[in-house]
Point group: C2
Chain length 339, copies 2
DNA sequence: CTTTTTTATGCAAACCTTTGCATAAAGTTT
DNA sequence: AAACTTTATGCAAAGGTTTGCATAAAAAAG
C-alpha cells in the first residue's frame, strides 16, 4: 500500500509545467515568475513534498553524512565526544554514522572500507589501541577524502587533528601529588601503542624529575584496558612491593576506580596512606568514597572542534594547504582521594 | 585532484562492451559468457572498481541504513543496547545512524523528520521521557515505514516491540529486600511518563503486598533523572522521615550511587542500617564499597532482538500482519549493599 | 509594425546502476 | 537449406533532481 512519495514531476504534471520549473520554483530561482512560484510552493506544501535526498546525493556526489569511528561507545569519554560532534554537525543538516572498532585493527579497517563505499563526506577517527599501521588512513588521504583524527594520534598521517594536552594533565596530577607530600608516586600506565598513554607517562616522569625524584621503573605498571577490572591486578602488584607507593596516578578514572577498590580491600586508607588520582572526570568519579581526584578533559569541546575542522575540509572546494593541530587543555580536579 | 572513481561505464568503454554487460558480468548473470566475465572482473579489480551505492540507493529506493533514536548515548544502558544493534546489523551490510533526543520531545520529532527525509529503511526508537504524544510515530506507521520500539513503550502505537520485564525485576529486588529482613522498604521512582518507571513502581508495590506490607506513600519519592546527582535529594528526603526506611530500591544504578553517597554522608552504614538496590547493572556498580546490589538487564540482547525484528520488517515485501512483542527477563544480582 | 530586449519556461543531459525486451550471431534440428 | 532454438550482448528506460542552453512569449524600443 506504500504510496510513493510525491515527486517534483508529479507537481509539474498537476500544474501543467515542466519539472525543471518546479525545481527552480522551489529553489527560489530568480527566473521564475512570482505566480508560478506561489502556485508550486502551495501545491508542494499541500502534497507534503519532500525532496528525494537519494537523487540529490547521486547528483551532487555528496551524502551529507560523516563517518565517526571510535574504539568504543560505552565509555563516557567517547560518548561525550560524540555528543559534541552531533551538536556541531546536526544544525548543518549533516548526519553522522557511528561505528566502534572495539579496539580492533581489523574491525577498524572494515568500518573505514564500509563507510568509504557508502561515500561518507568525511571521517572523524580515533584509532584503536591495536592500530600501528596507518595504511588504511593513508588510502583516505590519497583519495582526498577529508579526515580528522582526534584524541589518539597517528604519527605520519598528515591531516587536521585535535588532541588534549595529555602531558600537561599528567604533569599537573603528579605535581599535585608531590606537593601534597607524596614521596613514592606510582603510575598505572595505559597501553603504550596509544599516543595518549605515552604522553601521560612522559608527563609523569617529567613531573618527578622536576622535583628531583628518580623514576623507579618498579612503580610503573601497564594496564591492559580502561575498565575498573583492569586496575585491580596492577594495583595489587604495586601494593605487594617491598616499599609500596604512597600515591598512584592511573591512566584513567576506570582504572582508578579499580585501584581504589583493591586498595580498600587491602585495608589501606585513601588518601591518608595512599593518594589516588585518575584521568577523564567520569561522572561517577565524584560519588565514590572518597571521591576521586582526577584530570578533567574537554571531551565535548574536542568533539565540536574536530567536527568543525572536518566540515571546513568538506566544504573547502579548493585545497586547504596547511593542516591544523589543536591541543586542548585539561584541568586538575582535586577531590577526596588525594590530600 | 580528486580523480572520480571508476564507474561501470569506464570499464565498459575500455573493454568495448556495453555497461549492461559489465553490470551483468559483475553480478554473475548466467547469460554472460565466461570469457567476458573473466575479463570484466579482472579489469574491475585492476581499476579498483567499487559500485556507487548512491546510484543503487536511488534505483532500489533503499538506503541500507537504519535510524536509531535514543534519549541519550552516554549512559551505559543505551550504549550497550546500541552495541547489540550494531553487532546484529553490520554483518548484513546495514549501517545505523544514531541520534540522541536528550529526553526532549521536540528533538525527537526533529530527528525522526530528518531520518525520514534521508530515507532510512526503518527506525529503532526508545522515546524520550517527555514524549506523551505519539503522532510523530503514527506518521511512520501510516507511511508504512518499519519501526520497532524498545525499552520504553508507546501505548497505542502498534508495531514490533522489545522490552525488559521491569515489573518482574522490581518485584525480585523488593522481595529480596523483604526476605533479608528489611521492614521499611522505600522506592526512589523514575519519571512516571516512562512505562519502565511505572512498571517498576508496580512491581515494588505488588511485592510489598505479597508480604502484607502496606504501601506507605511517604516511602515513594520520584527522582527527576537517572544520574547520581538525581539520587541525592530524594535520599535526603527519605532519611529525614520520622521513621526512615531500612531499604531503598532505586529506579536505576545511577540514582542508587547517589543514594549510597548521601547515606554514607549521613553516617549511616550500608547494608547494616539501610540496604540499597539499583537497576541496570552498570559496570561501575560492583566497584563501590559496598558493591551495589542491582537488577541486571539484557541490554545487548535487547538491541540484537530489536534489530532483528526491524530487519524482518524491512525485508518483508508482503505485509506481516501480526506484531510481535517480546519481553526479556532481568536478573537479580546480589552484592554488598544488601544483606 | 518591425526589431530588439527581457522574461519565463522547457528540453535534455548528467549522476550510476539495473533490467526487461529486442536482436544479432551462432548452433541445432528437420 | 530453411526453420528454429540457444547464447551473448546491446538498447533504453527508470529512479528524482539540477542546470546549461535553447526558445517561445511578452514587453520595450525604434
Amino acid at each position: 500500500m506504500k504510496k510513493s512519495r510525491t515527486t517534483i514531476t508529479e507537481i509539474a504534471n498537476q500544474l501543467g509545467v515542466s519539472p525543471s520549473t518546479v525545481s527552480r520554483a522551489l529553489n527560489d530561482h530568480p527566473a521564475i515568475s512570482k505566480k508560478t512560484k506561489k502556485a508550486v510552493v502551495k501545491l508542494a506544501r499541500k502534497l507534503n513534498y519532500q525532496p528525494n535526498l537519494l537523487a540529490l546525493n547521486l547528483l551532487k556526489n555528496k551524502t551529507n553524512t560523516i563517518g565517526v569511528v571510535v574504539p568504543e561507545i560505552t565509555s563516557y569519554f567517547f560518548s561525550s565526544v560524540i555528543n559534541g560532534i552531533q551538536d556541531m554537525v546536526n544544525p548543518l543538516g549533516v548526519n553522522m554514522i557511528i561505528s566502534q572498532s572495539n579496539e580492533s585493527y581489523e574491525e577498524e579497517k572494515n568500518i573505514i572500507q564500509t563507510f568509504t563505499s557508502i561515500r561518507v563526506d568525511g571521517f572523524l577517527i580515533s584509532p584503536s589501541s591495536e592500530t600501528k599501521n596507518f595504511g588504511h588512513l593513508k588510502i583516505l588521504t590519497d583519495n582526498n577524502i577529508p579526515l580528522v583524527i582526534f584524541d589518539r594520534d597517528c604519527e605520519g598521517i598528515e591531516v587536521d587533528k585535535v588532541f588534549v594536552d595529555e602531558y600537561n594533565g599528567a604533569f599537573q596530577a603528579v605535581e599535585h601529588l608531590i606537593q601534597t607530600g607524596c614521596k613514592r608516586v606510582a603510575h598505572i600506565a595505559g597501553q603504550q601503542t596509544l599516543s595518549t598513554a605515552r604522553h601521560r607517562l612522559k608527563g609523569y616522569k617529567d613531573a618527578l624529575s622536576k622535583y628531583n625524584i628518580p623514576v623507579n621503573e618498579k612503580y610503573i605498571v601497564e594496564s591492559c584496558g580502561f575498565a575498573p577490572e583492569h586496575g585491580i591486578d596492577p594495583t595489587k602488584k604495586l601494593l605487594a612491593l617491598p616499599n609500596p607507593p604512597d600515591a598512584i596516578f592511573t591512566i584513567n578514572d576506570g582504572v582508578a576506580i579499580g585501584a581504589m577498590y583493591a586498595i580498600k580491600e587491602a585495608g589501606i586508607t585513601i588518601p591518608e596512606e595512599i593518594s589516588v588520582i585518575g584521568f577523564d572526570d567520569d561522572p561517577h568519579s565524584s560519588f565514590f568514597k572518597p571521591s576521586l581526584s582526577t584530570v578533567w578533559q574537554p571531551t565535548y569541546e574536542m568533539g565540536v572542534l574536530a567536527a568543525r575542522f572536518l566540515m571546513r575540509r568538506i566544504n573547502a572546494s579548493n585545497e586547504i594547504s596547511s593542516f591544523r593541530i589543536e591541543t586542548l587543555l585539561p584541568e586538575l580536579v582535586v577531590r577526596g582521594s588525594s590530600r
